[in-house]
Assembly symmetry: C2
Homo-oligomer: 81 residues x 2
């Protein structure tokens, strides 16, 4: 089984990297680009035999405690297969 964890800044948090990319893309000739926000994702492969419930429970805990900074970031967990 695999899980994917998306981590990104909360919408209230400024994303200077995203803003820099946005202005660069407009300079490069893409005026239709209105906004860019950057995030990261983690593809986590789990050993065989883990139930989907146990997988989601563990990955949610891992996302909250290790992969994301709950003060400025939000996360979302997807179980892939």
């Amino acid at each position: 089984m695999k899980a994917r964890v998306f981590v990104s800044f909360k919408s209230t948090v400024l994303d200077p990297q995203g803003q820099t990319i946005c202005s660069k893309l407009r300079d490069l000739g893409y005026p239709a680009i209105a906004d860019v926000r950057q995030g990261k994702f983690f593809d986590i492969a789990l050993a065989d035999g883990v139930t989907p419930e146990k997988a989601r429970q563990d990955i949610e805990t891992i996302a909250h405690e290790v992969l994301a900074n709950p003060v400025i970031e939000e996360y979302r967990v997807e179980l892939i297969d």
Copy 2:
């Protein structure tokens, strides 16, 4: 309209950050974690009036030329709405 671009190392490329996270998670008591690979994504908002075809064409070019390093990274474009 919004597009999301996923950028990650090619599967043949070593991901030391992912490996470090994987071993740390196992140390923290998650033995079922078999592998971790990290990537980044970009949420790109486009101005109104851009056709899906033009949006995909521009975002694919942007992904290839700006957001990803084609030598070691691969990318995938999703048009969200």
